[in-house]
């Protein structure tokens, strides 16, 4: 398909959203305590290295999206929930970090386990 002038307003207003209209059961809900997996693929992932093995708390469920780790390599959408997960600055950066700061990262179902 070629991009024609008529399509431009559509594409630029909706973008290339990865949201998927599929019913998939969430593995977590707001308030759940989670442990991020030590997931280190040589392929694409949206899991930042600095949260691996760290403990966080689910704050919000965004809904269902295509899973980047498979979607980047022609291995299907593997639709699943993505969440906002909160980490304390001290959990991520150690004792020199402020005890008042925290950070939220978007985390997919497959990146974490309950704790």
């Amino acid at each position: 398909m070629l991009l024609t002038p008529e399509l431009v307003p559509v594409v630029t207003s909706t973008g290339a959203s990865a949201r998927v209209a599929a019913h998939v059961a969430p593995r977590f809900r707001a308030g759940d305590q989670v442990l991020i997996r030590n997931w280190q693929p040589t392929t694409h992932t949206r899991l930042p290295g600095y949260i691996r093995g760290k403990k966080g708390v689910v704050e919000k469920d965004y809904g269902v999206f295509a899973f980047p780790d498979t979607h980047a390599h022609g291995k299907g959408e593997k639709p699943q929930h993505c969440y906002s997960v909160r980490f304390t600055a001290r959990e991520l950066w150690g004792d020199q970090a402020s005890d008042r700061d925290s950070l939220r990262v978007d985390v997919f179902d497959d990146y974490m386990d309950p704790r």
């Binding site: 040589t42 290295g49 980047p68 390599h73």
Partner: protein, 106 residues
């Protein structure tokens, strides 16, 4: 992949200095680079995730020294040449042609 793009938590890279009144594009070519995504991802058949992975696969030194939209251009070159939509030779010929024009006018 544990690539150079995953910079969170690294020391020694200096402060982030937000640009006051930052324009959407710093030069006209950046706007064209932005438009290339919408113009190519459907017919070339790649996803936004494959596009991001193409950026992660840049040479690490080049990644650190180049701008945001240079990362995009690098991804387009990779995605379009690996699919045979543009050949490396065609790309090199166009770069040579544009370099000549630049030298002539300035």
């Amino acid at each position: 992949m544990n690539g150079i793009h995953d910079l969170g938590g690294r020391h020694g890279l200096g402060p982030i200095n937000p640009e006051p009144n930052e324009p959407v594009f710093h030069a006209p070519w950046e706007g064209r680079a932005f438009g290339l995504f919408a113009a190519t991802f459907v017919f070339a058949g790649y996803t936004v995730d494959e596009f991001r992975h193409a950026i992660e696969n840049m040479d690490p030194a080049h990644y650190l020294e180049s701008s945001y939209y240079e990362h995009w251009m690098s991804a387009f070159e990779h995605l379009l040449t690996t699919r045979g939509i543009v050949t490396r030779e065609e790309l090199a010929a166009k770069v040579a042609e544009l370099s000549k024009e630049t030298n002539r006018c300035c």
